[in-house]
Amino acid sequence: MTDEVILQVRDLKTYFTVDEGIVKAVDGVSFDLHRGETLGIVGESGSGKSVTNLSIINLIPTPPGKIAGGQVLFHGKDLLSMPPNEIRQIRGNKISMIFQDPMTSLNPFLRISTQMIETIQLHQGLDQKAAKEKAIEMLKLAGIPAPEKRIDQYPHQFSGGMRQRVMIAMGLSCNPEILIADEPTSALDVTIQAQILELIQELTHKLGTAVIMITHSLGVVAGMCDTICVMYAGRIVERGRTEEIFESPKHPYTRGLIRSVPRLDRDTAERLYSIPGQPPNVIDLPDCCPFYPRCDKAMDICKKKYPPSVAFENGQSASCWLYTKEAQNG
C-alpha cells in the first residue's frame, strides 16, 4: 500500500424509485482507495455495500436506480460523468470485478476460453493466439490444474471453487489497478473460502492491485483488509485501519457487531451479545441517526439530526453524536 490515492469517492448518492417511495440505498458515501490497498466494506444485507460498488463502475440499472449525486474520481477523472464508450475502456480493464455467485457471472453457453479471450482482446489489443496464451497463464496463476485443457471446457464442468478461480483469473487478466470483489467467498465452503482468499491476497500483492472487498463476514475482513468501512442503512458509519477498528470500535453499531459474533477460538461467555431490533427499512428514512432505535447509547439529539463524521487522532472516524461537542454540552 502506498500513499498515492487512485480512487476517490465523494458524497456518492444512489437512489431507487419504487412504488412505496424513494430508497436511498447509498446516501452520501465518501472514501479513498490507495494504490495496493485492500479496503473492506462490511455491513448487513441492505446496507448499501453492493450498490456502492456498482455505482463506482456506473452499472446501476436506470431506471429504477439513479445516481443522484457525488463523484467517483479515478486518477482525478469523474467516472460518473464520463461518456459510455470511455468508461467501457476502464471497466473490466483498469477496474474489474468478481461477484458472489460464479455460476451466474459466467455465461453457461460459452467455453471459458471464449469468455476470457474476448475480454483480453477487447482491452489489451492482443491477437487471438496471444490472448489465449495470456488466458492460460492467468488460469495457471489462479491455481487451475491443466489450464491448457480446462480452458476449452464449459462453466458447468467446474466446481464452485474452481469457477471462482476462473473469475479471479479473468478479473486480473488485464492487470487492473482496482479489483472489486463482491462477497467472493460467501457461496463457498470454509476450506474453499480459505483457498480463494489466500489466492486473492497472493495475486493482488504480486500484481500491486488495490482491492475493494465487500463482505458481511467480520472474520474475512480481519484477515485480509488494511482498512475497513462499516456501512449501515446506506451510509458509512465508521472508518479506519483494521486493527484499530477491532481494537477500539467507536460507533455503537460496530461495537455491537463485533460483540455479537460467536468466537471460534474461545469459549463465549454465558450469553452472546445481540443488537436488539431489526435493520431499518431504507424507504423514506427520516434525517436522524438510523441506528438510534437499536442503540444502547441513544440520546435525544440522535432522533433529530444525522450525526456528523468525527475524526480521531489515529485516522479513525465515526458518525456518532457521542463524540461531538453538541452532545457533551448537553
Partner: protein, 334 residues
C-alpha cells in the same frame, strides 16, 4: 442440564440415493449421501453437526425425521425404532421431534397467516385424533408461543411477506414448538440471517432450551456458531462422522486432520489473531459422494495420509474418554 438419558440413538444410518439414467432402467449408481453414521443425543443437550456442503448433514437430519426412508440403520427415539414402526405409530412417535429449516422464506407457506402456520401442526394431530383441544385453547396456545419466541401476538393475522428474515425464523421456531416436542432438529437455522439477527436467534434457541428442557440436533457449517450453541460436536465428511467430542475438547484438541484443517480455515474476527495464525490449506474440492472408497474418505485431501489409509476404512474409536475419532493416526488398522 443433560441427565445422560439417551433421547435419540442413531445406529448405522445409511441413506443412498439411486441415480437413474432413464425412467424404466434400474439404478446402477448411487449417491452415498450418508454412509453409516452412529451417534446418540442425550436429553437436554445440543449435538452440533458440522461439515461442508454435500457432506450429508441435512440428509442425516431428514433421515432421522423419517422424511426420507433410510436405506439402512436404526433411528431410536425414546426407545422406539422409528424405521420399523407401522406408519400410524411412527407419526405418533414423531410428534416428539420437530424441525426448523434453513430458509425462512421457503419454509413458510406464503398463503397462510403466521397464526395459521403455527397452529397447523396442532390441527394435523387434532384431525388424527391425537390431540384434544378446543379452538379457543388452540388460539391461546398460538398466542402463547408467539410471545415465547419474541413476536407480538398482534402479528397473528399477518402473512410471511410482512415479516423480516429474523422474524420469519421466529415463526418457524414457534411452529416447531407447537406440539411440545422433546427434540428439535435444526437444519442451518441461522445461516441465512445477518450477523446482528443471527445472535438474537441463537440466544432465543438457548433460552427456549433452558425453559422447556429441549434437546437439539443443530446443523450448521459455521464452526463458531456450533461452538457457541453445542454441548457436543460431530464433524462430518463425505457421509461419515470423522470425529465427535465435547465442544470445548474438540475446539481445543482437534484430532482428525480434517477437523484441524476446518478449524484453521475458518476466519476469526480479530486481526491480531489472524496475523499470527498458521493455516492448513487443503488442496482440491470435496469429492462427489458417488462412489464408495475402499479406504478413508478423506485420503485424497489429507496431508497426513499413510499407506494404510488407502486400503482400510478407519472406524470411529475412542481416543480419550468421550472423544471419538475415525483416523489411523490414533488407532491401528484392524
Amino acid at each position: 442440564m443433560a441427565d445422560h438419558k439417551i433421547l435419540l440413538d442413531v445406529r448405522g444410518l445409511k441413506m443412498h440415493f439411486p441415480i437413474k439414467t432413464s425412467l424404466f432402467s434400474r439404478a446402477k449408481n448411487y449417491i452415498y449421501a450418508v454412509d453409516g453414521v452412529d451417534f446418540a443425543v442425550r436429553k437436554g443437550e445440543t449435538l452440533g453437526l458440522v461439515g461442508e456442503s454435500g457432506c450429508g448433514k441435512s440428509t442425516t437430519a431428514r433421515a432421522v425425521a423419517q422424511l426420507y426412508k433410510p436405506t439402512a440403520g436404526e433411528v431410536i427415539l425414546n426407545g422406539k425404532d422409528l424405521t420399523k414402526l407401522p406408519p400410524q405409530e411412527m407419526i405418533e412417535a414423531r410428534k416428539n421431534m420437530q424441525m426448523v429449516f434453513q430458509d425462512p422464506y421457503a419454509s413458510l407457506n406464503p398463503r397462510m397467516t403466521a397464526g395459521e402456520i403455527i397452529a397447523e401442526p396442532i390441527k394435523i394431530f387434532q384431525k388424527r385424533g391425537l390431540i384434544d383441544m378446543t379452538t379457543e385453547e388452540r388460539n391461546d396456545r398460538v398466542e402463547h408461543l408467539m410471545e415465547k419466541v419474541g413476536l407480538s401476538r398482534f402479528f397473528k393475522n399477518r402473512y410471511p411477506h410482512e415479516f423480516s428474515g429474523g422474524q420469519r425464523q421466529r415463526i418457524g421456531i414457534a411452529r416447531a414448538l407447537a406440539l411440545n416436542p422433546e427434540l428439535i432438529l435444526c437444519d442451518e437455522p441461522v445461516s441465512a440471517l445477518d450477523v446482528s439477527i443471527q445472535s438474537q436467534i441463537l440466544n432465543l434457541f438457548k433460552d427456549l432450551q433452558d425453559e422447556f428442557g429441549l434437546t437439539y440436533l443443530f446443523i450448521a457449517h459455521d464452526l463458531s456458531v456450533i461452538r457457541y450453541i453445542s454441548t457436543r460436536v460431530a464433524v462430518m465428511y463425505l457421509g461419515k462422522i470423522v470425529e465427535i467430542a465435547d465442544a470445548a475438547e474438540l475446539y481445543k484438541n482437534p484430532l482428525h486432520p480434517y477437523t484441524q484443517a476446518l478449524l484453521s480455515a475458518a476466519p476469526i474476527p480479530d486481526p491480531k489473531v489472524e496475523a499470527k495464525r498458521q493455516r492448513i490449506i487443503l488442496t482440491g474440492d470435496v469429492p462427489s459422494p458417488d462412489k464408495q472408497r475402499p479406504g478413508c474418505n478423506f485420503y485424497d485431501r489429507c496431508w497426513k495420509r499413510m499407506d494404510a489409509c488407502r486400503e482400510c476404512k478407519p472406524q470411529l474409536r475412542e481416543a480419550s474418554p468421550g472423544h471419538e475419532v475415525s483416523c489411523f493416526l490414533y488407532h491401528k488398522p484392524e
